[in-house]
Symmetry: C2
Subunit: 202 residues, 2 copies
């Protein structure tokens, strides 16, 4: 009954997380009824995001220019690196305004059941960065592991501690101020700021 | 902090109904992390839907070919036309499998406060169709008004009754089996089938 292009769009939209068949159809009809130009702008933004955004060669965050804005910022402290699972987590830490060091984005957490081991994460890049700092930058003295306070995040923290301590770097973990089983991206700023302040040696 | 292309995509996605700023960002990151090709397929589907889908010249539903599949179907009864507000409503009626006549899609309901009068709806096309049936088709004898059972839908039903009765056509309204204030698109099939069967003259 529905024309093919609407069915195709509904099917593509339904692949997005949290979007069911019914919502996808509603969105498809909305796009169809929208002001001329909206569909084109949305499609261009989708193509753009995959074509123009790449990983920063230093910290592996998503960026348009390389190195990214955070890595290029001379006012930040080179000696301290905050390791996060994903970019939204980085943004959450940044929103606390409590951290002025550098970042490193792993793009996931260890999860053997899902086939995600250290090779699937940006761990090699972190180790390389600790050994040879980017030109004109100071050596990293402390790594704050700010992975999520859930099973995968804790496992990743443990793995990184064992890997990085022998390299002579201080490894810390954000305090258990963040509720267990939660998602860092949605932690409130005060809780996250406290977690940063109360970090302990592991 | 977030690269421009991600911000632009987030802004475009946040314009969709029911998608807030946070969900939009989550979807943007999901699109970025998806399998190669997904972003391109999604963008193509969005452009396609606006370029290939148009209104059927007979019943004004959304269609790829003109006339639409329903209007081209020789097994359907020309003498009875079901008038709905939108395409999802048409699909809801069709799902009951109780109706084998033709459809007419108004693309909205009368709502003077929103500036939607008869000229903003596909009423002219309905009147023309009642006066001169498409070639090789029988005359319309009954119009079932299946607009939503809310203020705008009832007003539209009343308006259509006054407009169409003088043309010598029987005008009926779906029964009040559908709950008042509800949305036809989400009515269950049994309720909607009963409403069709219990329609009364207005």
């Amino acid at each position: 009954m529905t024309p093919d292009p609407i069915q195709r769009l509904t099917a593509e939209l339904a692949k997005l997380p949290g979007i069911g068949e019914k919502t996808a159809q509603r969105l498809a009809f909305h796009i169809l009824r929208s002001k001329p130009g909206y569909a084109r702008d949305l499609a261009a933004a989708i193509v753009d995001v995959t074509e123009k955004v790449r990983l920063c060669s230093v910290c592996c965050t998503l960026t348009e220019g390389d190195p990214c804005a955070t890595c290029s910022d001379d006012r930040r402290d080179d000696r301290i690196v905050c390791v996060v699972e994903n970019v939204p987590d980085l943004l959450a830490v940044e929103r606390t305004r409590e951290f002025r060091g550098r970042y490193h984005v792993l793009h996931g957490a260890l999860s053997p059941l899902d086939g995600i081991g250290p090779d699937q994460l940006r761990v090699k890049e972190l180790v390389r960065r600790l050994g040879t700092p980017p030109e004109g930058r100071e050596r990293v003295e402390e790594v704050i592991v700010a992975t999520n306070p859930d099973v995968e995040g804790e496992a990743t923290a443990l793995y990184l501690t064992r890997l990085l301590k022998p390299l002579g770097v201080r490894v810390t973990r954000i305090a258990q101020g963040v509720p267990m089983g939660g998602d860092l991206e949605y932690a409130d700023q005060v809780t996250l700021a406290r977690a940063l302040a109360g970090r302990r040696e592991i």
